[in-house]
Symmetry: C2
Subunit: 679 residues, 2 copies
């Protein structure tokens, strides 16, 4: 034995975490709990009373560790809508709002500041939400599955309701309230008519009664054929008085049960769903008929613009082509819900050209929080940068500065009601979202819906500190990882504007070779068009001319290969393999380096994450570590599949300083994942 | 269109290979063919005649493009054995040997020089082989399978023989002759008694008749119980006169068919095989009895020292313990065949301490060309450095400089006959060895058996130029890859002296967690002994004291953790995780970096290989490229499995600058490959 044998105690303390295991079920709501204070001193009080005020008081009395807080309803603050003012000093903080729920939002604001260790001795702020309706769309089916859900089965236990009430319903409402989400569509846009049966409406009422405590309004997706299927009407023609009457009756029935019911979300004449076109009517005819039924109760119709008939025209153009001619025909409680991009929630798309194009019709964004096209709940992809990219996109519809945020939040186009929506990623998994970091996307949507001027970094910072720890050794690297993560997914999945080369049906892995599917525009080759001359979808004047749907000067910018942003190059152009990119590389080489960068960056994330072990609990550390391993393997899979496949066209070597493929293209083509739904 | 569109023709010529496809069936024998010359002018002539001289003349007349060559038998050169002299000038080269086969070897020597573009205008060289018997051991079963064979089924079509004769029998003999291999054991050491049935001996005779043309002698593995099983003797006791008589008769029968039959290879009392110990006799009793039967015909017995009874003593010690007491008791046509290391063909072992310990008994090495423990025919591992490491090991048995080469080649221990053997990697695959680079190990064994002073680099250089191309853009990087390749396998499989942590049975992947098997010394934990204090097998005085089997000063060098070579550290010592290595790193960190280096280096090989595409044929390029992908994936598998498993004991992080694992230990533990034999 000699000196070399000395055990280095250092290692013994670094590895084992002394923090207790956490399962992620608390989300970002990991506040300290004042168990002693409850009985003795009420930290928070209010002279008014109300169910939601009570909820707000409970939150503060349980979790607020600072000075006394007074909650006040003040109708004079009506202009803030459900916003609030917070003012105070070291002794007393006052939260004021015109609405009860505004006080709850204010309470959560305080708790957020507390978690961020903000200086609370002199506080004076005013918050007004960017959008009136901040709504989640659940694509949950009545059989408990979730379309594009990757966090287990549905939270809604339809079989148990209304008699058995899961404690998670209230937890769900509370989590949404904590970030300002005030509305939710409970069921899939591919809607079963059954949701409108009395039996189900009773179940919905039970949820609505719970959610109401937290200011969360319930909406439903409805099937356009409901009258015919449930009511036995001859058809579902929107001009058929019998149909109108059925809707009027049904709406009345709903409002009797749920007086603050929000309205309907409708997917019609889209991907096989019924709709007014089945009867030679327009989307406006259909939307207006149902909106009219809702009108007496202040209910609204969110009518989806996600339509594309199997025509020969570029799928990216079809929503615009169908809806622009109808502009002005929609009633004032109809709002057109438009996916952020013109195709379908790809890792990157240009914004949907319909934004700004409907000058007389309210528009709202539909984002997708659930990562249908971003690695499900296996890949870490923080989506605030994606959401911001759309919100901050300048459409030029009303001149420079006509961002989508300003077009939809009422700034440029005053609307009766403004809204923003996103498809939820929530299921019955203990950690709600499948991946601990997927919680950040629920969080980020809520925060941006409240205030779209927040930066992705601010939101990530808040979320990390509340969800994990405020130790800077954790916050700094993890935030950096989050902020780059969406771009990393773009890099290893579909850089430079490539889109929709996913495996058929489930959209998890790569299948750029997909050339046969139910419809031409469900294949991958439809989108990438790789051939011996190059790759990309020519949407310029010489191609589909989708660029013409953008306002000047974007139509020119996108339409010119020299000015088109390189991250959208192959979205708008079919580009020769040896086209010279701005950095001097050929397109082929740049494509290779992008995929490689994606792989390398995920490996860097693994290094970052593994070094966080001392700072957080073991369970979440391990679970995220495990997910990152999957992501690292998947990134290599994507890179190899795409480069080996596109190489059959480029006929050029992958630059030799890049790590070589480790798969055979033929083997990758044989991978068939058995994924029908993902519970 | 603009300047950026210019197609870079450069890429168009770099990628597609203009060389015709090759399938590897020609091995390193890709000589030019003088089709026109055959009829007109005989380049090579001889005044003597003989079947093997004819073969030599045919090779030269078909493939030699230089000046005239004269082949001469000269009995005065007897001291060169089957060696030869080559002398000549620009007009005439003379090849002289005491034996016909020496002229054939000389002819191949000339063709090798031609391939190397050597200056042949003034040539004067003498070659004498290092070993008399240069023998391949085929572990081929009579049912056509090959134990530890990874290149398809057996070359020997026992069902078709003797009537149908595959052209590959002669091609096989020719390939061996081209590198000086002059002997072959046709069947598995786990021998079926059937091989000695008259029916099979007739088949063997047919092969021997073909091989004889190329100077290749046939040997057989025999089952010690053959007399009892085939001849109906009461037992197989070596002292039973009836048994002796059976062997005498059987040998006589063989020599009648095959007058130059070489002798027997015997695995006895090893891994369940029968042997003299079944009757209370010694290995010497058994070997001598059979040797006596062979003696009248100059046949020999190669008696394997690969024995280890399931005793409690360190398996690494057992061959020594069993054989050293028998030294002096073996008859002079017995030679003890000893595996290079004391365990079993691991990626790295110290030499077998039996070498030099038998002072009155001839010893020969058994190498393994087939990559049982080095990735089968999937991994590129050039084994000349492994062979050389053993041959050049100094045992100190007769003082410094007592290398295993000198102990076995007759230099230090004059022997009636010297020999060197290796388990073949040849099967019926078109390319013979499964992996194109596995051919280099057959080649290297032959070349080292002929001349153990050749360097690994010289042999690689020869082989690359003959097998692929002499373009230096290919030769230089590929040679570098080959020369480091065995160490790379060590790095990603079992660095620092770790050994035998392979998956049970098939020995392909990692299974360091293997703790239950038929015998304790078939588990992995037996060998690595990882626990919370450290890892490694204590073979010092405080442990099994296997070090005591080595001659001084090696026993001290190996026995002292400070002086033990680090590449054998865990072979000889149980070492604390935080032991400080010579580079200052802890053992744990060093282990991590070794595994990581292994992975990185395989990826570098992929880069090297991919850049060879322009220089060789497409088929072999693609096939090797594909194998390297498997190797790259497997290296990660090994690294992850070993580091994650050993980490459960070290309880230390993998250094954070190392690429992180992408697998879960639990998932890796579930991998069960269905590998019984590998055809």
């Amino acid at each position: 034995m000699n000196l070399k044998y000395i055990y280095c105690l250092f290692f013994m303390v670094v590895l084992p975490s002394i923090l207790p295991a956490e399962d992620g079920s608390q989300l970002w709501l990991r506040y300290p709990t004042n168990r002693n204070n409850i009985q003795t001193e009420q930290k928070a009080t209010s002279e008014q009373s109300g169910v939601t005020i009570s909820v707000a008081l409970k939150e503060l009395n349980l979790h607020w560790t600072g000075q006394r807080v007074e909650l006040r309803i003040d109708k004079k603050l009506k202009a803030l809508k459900d916003g609030y003012e917070i003012k105070g000093n070291g002794q007393l903080i006052t939260v004021t709002s015109a609405q009860e729920v505004g006080l709850l939002y204010g309470a959560f604001h305080l708790l957020r500041l507390q978690a961020a260790k903000a200086n609370l001795s002199d506080i004076n702020l005013t918050e007004k939400p960017s959008f009136d309706i901040r709504i989640l769309n659940h694509w949950d089916n009545l059989d408990g599955t979730i379309e594009r859900g990757y966090a287990g089965y549905s939270l809604w236990k339809w079989d148990e309701l209304p008699n058995t009430v899961s404690p998670r319903y209230e937890e769900y409402a509370r989590a949404n309230a904590s970030i300002g989400i005030n509305a939710t569509v409970l069921n899939n846009v591919n809607a079963s008519p059954d949701i409108l049966k009395g039996e189900y409406l009773n179940k919905v009422k039970t949820l609505a009664d719970i959610f109401r405590l937290y200011g969360l309004k319930v909406y439903l997706s409805v099937n356009f054929s409901s009258p015919k299927i449930l009511g036995g009407t001859k058809d579902a023609d929107p001009l058929n008085p019998e149909v109108k009457q059925w809707w009027a009756n049904k709406v009345k029935e709903i409002y009797k049960l749920i007086p603050d019911f929000g309205g309907f979300l409708i997917k019609a004449n889209s991907e096989g769903q019924p709709g007014p076109q089945d009867y030679g009517r327009t989307h406006a005819d259909g939307a207006n008929m149902i909106a009219d039924a809702l009108k007496p109760y202040n209910g609204i119709v969110m009518w989806r613009a996600f339509v594309y008939s199997p025509s020969d025209d570029d799928r990216a153009k079809q929503a615009y082509l169908e809806f622009v001619p109808l502009d002005g025909q929609f009633h004032d409680n109809v709002i057109i819900q438009i996916k952020n991009g013109p195709i379908d929630f790809q890792p990157r798309e240009p914004f949907n050209p319909l934004f700004g194009a409907l000058r007389k019709t309210p528009e709202m964004i539909e984002f997708q929080i659930t990562q249908e096209y971003l690695g499900f709940s296996n890949h870490l992809a923080y989506l605030a940068p994606l959401f911001k990219e759309t919100l901050d996109s300048d459409t030029y519809s009303d001149g420079a500065g006509s961002t989508i945020a300003k077009l939809t939040d009422g700034t440029l186009r005053p609307a009766k009601v403004t809204a923003i929506s996103a498809v939820a990623n929530i299921g019955e998994d203990t950690n709600w979202c499948g991946h601990h970091f997927a919680q950040s996307n629920w969080y980020a949507f809520g925060r941006l819906a409240w205030n779209h001027q927040l930066s992705s970094e601010e939101i990530a910072d808040e979320w990390i500190r509340m969800t994990f720890t405020d130790d800077k050794n954790f916050v700094t690297p993890v935030k950096e990882m989050m902020l780059t993560s969406r771009e990393t997914v773009v890099d290893y999945m579909m850089p430079l504007g490539i889109h929709h080369i996913f495996a058929e049906g489930h959209h998890y892995g790569p299948q750029p070779w997909l050339s046969e599917a139910g419809r031409k525009d469900w294949t991958s080759v439809y989108y990438h068009n790789a051939d011996n001359t190059g790759i990309g979808f020519d949407r310029t004047e010489t191609g589909s001319n989708a660029v013409s749907q953008y306002f000047s000067p974007l139509n020119k910018i996108y339409g010119n290969i020299e000015t088109c942003p390189e991250n959208l190059l192959l979205w708008f152009h079919h580009v020769p393999w040896n086209y010279q990119m701005k950095n001097g590389k050929t397109l082929w080489d740049e494509l290779c380096y992008k995929y490689d960068t994606g792989v390398k960056t995920v490996r860097e994330y693994q290094k970052i994450w593994d070094q966080t072990e001392p700072y957080i609990d073991t369970q979440r550390f391990r679970e995220v570590q495990s997910k990152l391993k999957i992501q690292a393997r998947d990134a290599v899979w994507w890179k190899d599949a795409c480069l080996l496949y596109f190489q059959t066209f480029s006929k050029q070597p992958i630059p030799y300083d890049i790590e070589r493929p480790v798969h055979e293209l033929d083997d990758l083509k044989k991978i068939k994942l058995d994924m029908k739904h993902h519970n």
